[in-house]
């Protein structure tokens, strides 16, 4: 079955969501991420949703869940690249994703992750 690829960048994980996800794929992503964070002792996760044209309540909850589970495993999550139309719609839908950190793009997202969890001594460790 198809899975969304998870890239490892030192202490951080990078996930780019480019497909119109169906529910099982979303659940699979949550499982895979939790597993990898644990396996690689990752300190942060960057989720790039800049090509997602739709984020409904299911995907929204998925993002919140990932952030929550990552935090329990001592990793920070930053979601980047939400499109304006998507943000406006999510807010209208009633979701604020309060527990999820956000940034405008991958660059600022990575900066934020480093600010929060970067440990320059063991950057390439693992």
């Amino acid at each position: 079955m198809e899975r969304i690829p998870i890239l490892r960048m030192g202490q951080f994980l990078l996930v780019t969501i480019q497909v119109d996800m169906h529910d099982r794929l979303a659940v699979q992503l949550q499982d895979d991420l939790t597993q990898k964070i644990s396996e690689w002792s990752s300190r942060g996760v960057l989720i790039d949703i800049s090509t997602l044209e739709i984020v409904d309540s299911f995907i929204g909850r998925m993002l919140a869940n990932i952030a929550g589970m990552a935090r329990v495993l001592d990793a920070e999550t930053v979601v980047v690249g939400m499109q304006p139309a998507v943000a406006i719609t999510l807010v209208e839908l009633g979701m604020s994703l309060a527990g999820v950190r956000t940034a405008l793009n991958v660059e600022t997202g990575m900066e934020l992750l480093y600010e929060l969890r970067g440990d320059f001594h063991s950057e390439m460790g693992g």
């Binding site: 044209e53 929204g60 139309a85 209208e92 009633g94």
Partner: protein, 134 residues
């Protein structure tokens, strides 16, 4: 409302929900809705299709282009033969919250469209009709 053309999409698997979204997107694009309006309608469709699947045990979505005296719009009808909604008011009651709890209910979808109507009785299934005008 005078209807012009329509299409029906079955909703029995989670892939069907994706297809439903994409169809609504296509129709909204053709009718030249603004990007924000398209996004709202497609997201509402995703919510309602998923509801039909999860709570309604499967059903279908009908898309129809509609017109009234002054404007064009897109009507979506979601029907399922599930258990029905016992307390419609409670299902709709969902103010703007800052939490990300489970079950946002139908209140959210209602805010994304212009017209929203539910027909449901326990044991008789549910039909939800929504319209987004240009």
């Amino acid at each position: 409302m005078k209807s012009v053309k329509q299409e029906t999409v079955p909703i029995f698997t989670s892939s069907d929900v994706v297809v439903a979204r994409q169809k609504v997107r296509q129709w909204a694009l053709e009718l030249k809705f603004t990007l924000v309006d398209q996004t709202k309608l497609v997201t509402a469709a995703s919510e309602l299709a998923r509801n039909a699947l999860d709570h309604g045990k499967g059903g279908q979505m009908m898309i129809e282009q509609v017109e009234n005296s002054t404007r064009n719009g897109l009507k979506l009808v979601f029907e399922d033969r599930g258990p029905g909604i016992p307390d419609i008011e409670a299902a709709l009651r969902d103010g703007f919250t800052t939490g990300n709890g489970m079950g946002l209910g139908l209140g959210g979808s209602k805010r994304l469209v212009n017209d929203f109507h539910i027909d449901s009785e326990p044991g008789k299934g549910t039909r939800i009709t929504v319209v987004r005008w240009k």
